[in-house]
Each structure stands twice: as C-alpha cells, then as structure tokens.
Symmetry: C2
DNA sequence: CGCGTTCTTGACTGCTTTCAAAGATGGTGG
DNA sequence: CCACCATCTTTGAAAGCAGTCAAGAACGCG
C-alpha cells in the first residue's frame, strides 16, 4: 500500500491518512502542508499532554508513535491507545476543556497544530472520520483486553496496527514498523513482558509472524485474521 | 430512585443528568421534556442498534440500562460499555454514518430522539460534556480490564457506576440500582460469572458492599476508593 | 570494547477458568 | 396458595493460563 501516485505531490504519512479519510481539496492539502512546516518534537518517554491538563490546541501526529497512558501508584501501567502518524490529539471541532489522559511519546514524535476546518468541508469530514475510527479502535481494545487470550490479543493488535498504518501509507505488503519493546507491548495488551515474549516465540515458531528490529511482518495474514475473526474497520456501509 | 428536589420542576433522570452537565435554559429543558413525550421502548435482550447499521437519529436513554456489546463466534461476549439514563447514543452534533457497535437493552429501555441543539447553546455544551465523559469512562474501562484484578475491577466499576448514576439523580447516599445478573457483570468485567460470584462474596464478607435484589450499597465508599485509587471523573479543572 | 537496555529462559506460584451439579429465587398458571 | 419452571446464584474440585522472581544471553550504542 505505497502512497506514491503517478503524479508529483507526494504527501507525508499524516496527510496521506487524512486524505484517505475524505477527498481533501487542494486548499485543504495546502493548509495541512503548511501546518506541518511548523512542528514541534517530543523525545521518547516525554509527555505530550498531561491528564486533566487543558492543552493548547488540537494537534496532528506528523511522525512517530505515542501512547495514551494510565499509571497506577504501585507501578502498574496500561497503555490505553497507541497514537500513530496522522492521528489527531484533541478534537479539532469540539474544543474540549481537558485532556482525558496523559500522552507519552514512544519514539521521537513530531506534532503540528491541526488546521481549522470549514465545518462543511472535507477536512472536517476527515477529522470526524478520524474520531469515529478512534472510537472503534477503542471499543476493539476493550473487547481484546476483556475476552481474548494473550495469543489472540497479540494477533488482533498486530492486525489492527497494520490496518491503521496502511491508512497512512506506512506499510509495505505485510510489513510494518513496530518501534516498541516487548515491555511496551505488554503495557498495551494488559500482559507482562515475560508472557509477551513467550507468546511471540510461539507465533514465530508457527511461522505466523516475524518480529524483530523494530519491524513486523505478518507472514500469514489470512490465518492470523481467522484466529481472531478479524474484519477490517469500516466507516461506510 | 426518587429524584425529587425541593422546588416544583421535577425532571426525569435523563434531563437531570444533562442539566448537571451544563446550565440548560428553560427552552432547552422544554425541548427535552417534549422529546421525552415521544419515547419508544425496547425490551431486555433486544437490539437498540446494530453494529455497522446506520441508525436513524441520535437518541437519549430516558430510562433503563443498555450495553454496547461485542460477541464472538464461540460464544464469548464482552460488554464494551454500559448505557445509563441520560446517556446519548450517537452524537447529536456530528452525524455519524455507522453505529460502531451493537447496543442491546439490559432492562426495559425507553429512548427518545435527542433535540437539535444550537451549537452555541448550553444544550450543545451538555452534549459535548456527555461525549467527553463517555470517552473518559471508556479509557477507564480499558485500564480496568488491562491491569486490575477481578476484585479491583468490581470495586472500580461499582464506584464508577455509582458516580454516573449520581449525575442522573438515581442514587441515594451509597445506594444505587443494579439491574444486572452476575453473568452480565462478568461480561462487563471480562470475567466468568463463577468468579464474579466468588469475588462478590469476598467483598460482602469484608463488609464492603451489599449487593442483592437488583441494587447495590457501597458500605464503605472511602475504603473502596482507596482499593482502586478511585478519583471522581472531572471535566472542569 | 563496555555498559545499559532488551530479550530469553526456568522454576514455581496463583488467580481465574472450566465443568458439573446442587440450592435459591421469582414469576406463572392451575 | 402452592406447584412448577426457568433463571440465577452458590459451591466444589481440578486444570490452565498468565504472573512472579531471578539470572543469564543478546543486542545496540557510544
């Protein structure tokens, strides 16, 4: 799913994603392009937004991975959702008072402000579609944590992440980047890093995935999908 | 379950909740009141919205409990979120194409259409606040399923549900209705009904809760809160 | 090359599930 | 008013998935 078309204007992953969510006009693409020229960078482990802290303006993740995090006093930690390039932080439409959770950078993350959108335009539609997808992925995460085994959680999450990255044009066939340690994976999936390790080995032994060096290959996407009844997320009927 | 205040205009739980989220004008209260005169009822186990099915219009839960549900082919089931009186289904502002999940009635549920709101008015603000709360509760549910033990999940969920029902004026002190079987609780909490049963007994033995006959009493709210580091959900700083 | 982080591995514990079946409970019709 | 049925709750024993603790191997970076 490369995002290079035959014609010149090659877009960044973030713009590629929004463009995939609604047919953006030239003016809207321009606005996004300009917004991206004014980025700020956050280093790994650093906070992008604090829980309950009103944040400046709605933003777009231009590059890098981040995570919404809930930490407990005893050290337990749960990553509530993973933020990928093209994802929005804070709704550009509805100005919310408070950030609902803390957001932490996983890799280097570059952010830019989300351009204001004409409510009737396609950019607004892309923003809305993005919010709708976020909601779907969140519900999926609940079902994953509530009812799937460790084995299934990993498979399901990898498929979902592959699908999300594809929207931003960041996958190549069955390959995608995966800049996360097994400990971070554990925090996403509600497991321990030891058990993630053992389960990944099982998946490797079965020839289903190839995970290493910060990237993942889904060797048998079909079989993986069957394991968890995975169906792509759709917004349109 | 009475929600009576000292002054004449007594509102339904649903209106009480929205009123608590933003200071509604008389006109807005009227609009809500009129909307409630035109309800439809859904019986337990029946579908309120189907997954991926475009639904008619944004609605308000006037009374009764419902749940967003994800079912698996092998019979596993996860309740993704519980809908209580005053909760909104579908965003009244942003018209979304598809329902992200199936919604099923737990008790008898009455629904009415959500009145259109002037984007600058307080009703719109209440709708936005409701959506923001939904988001917070969803993140909380993720953390609960991912990192809390069965014991903690039950405590945390009971506290959250008490808080939510209080917004709608449906609690009395530490009492609130709980029209759910242990099997449904298990489906919410990602456990088995057998284990929910055993864990509830433990909580009863410890004198922390009193659960029976469709209602719950949180006997030691303070201690329960400490068990799970519970802090009320806030929208304002 | 050396150090810190990440990945692996092993042994053991334990929370939660599974399977089965026996009590309660509540509503219904005779 | 009670028998009866369906549903819900409770209990027991056994199995299993995942967590804990600890230590060694591998990797990446300066």
């Amino acid at each position: 799913m490369n995002f290079r078309s035959s014609s010149p204007p090659i877009h960044s992953p973030a713009i590629t994603r929004l463009k995939a969510l609604a047919p953006l006009s030239e003016a809207e693409l321009d606005a996004l392009g300009k917004a991206e020229e004014n980025c700020q960078t956050v280093r790994p482990h650093h906070e992008i937004a604090g829980e309950g802290i009103a944040f400046a303006e709605p933003s777009v993740v231009v590059s890098g991975w981040a995570g919404r995090v809930r930490s407990f006093a005893d050290g337990r930690r749960q990553i509530l959702s993973v933020l990928l390039p093209g994802d929005l932080i804070g709704q550009p439409q509805v100005r919310q008072s408070l950030a609902p959770t803390m957001i932490v950078a996983i890799t280097d993350v570059t952010l830019c402000g989300a351009p204001e959108a004409d409510p009737a335009g396609n950019l607004a539609r892309a923003y809305a579609a993005s919010a709708a997808l976020d909601e779907s992925y969140l519900y999926r995460h609940v079902a994953r944590l509530g009812r799937l085994s460790a084995y299934e959680r990993i498979v399901d999450w990898l498929l979902e992440t592959h699908e999300r990255l594809t929207l931003a044009g960041l996958t190549k066939e069955d390959w995608h980047p995966l800049p996360m340690t097994q400990e971070l994976l554990a925090d996403v999936l509600g497991l321990t890093s030891v058990h993630v390790n053992r389960t990944l080995q099982m998946l490797r032994r079965e020839g289903l995935i190839d995970l290493r060096g910060g990237s993942a290959v889904l060797l048998q996407k079909q079989r993986l999908s069957e394991i968890v009844e995975y169906r792509p997320t759709r917004l349109q009927p």
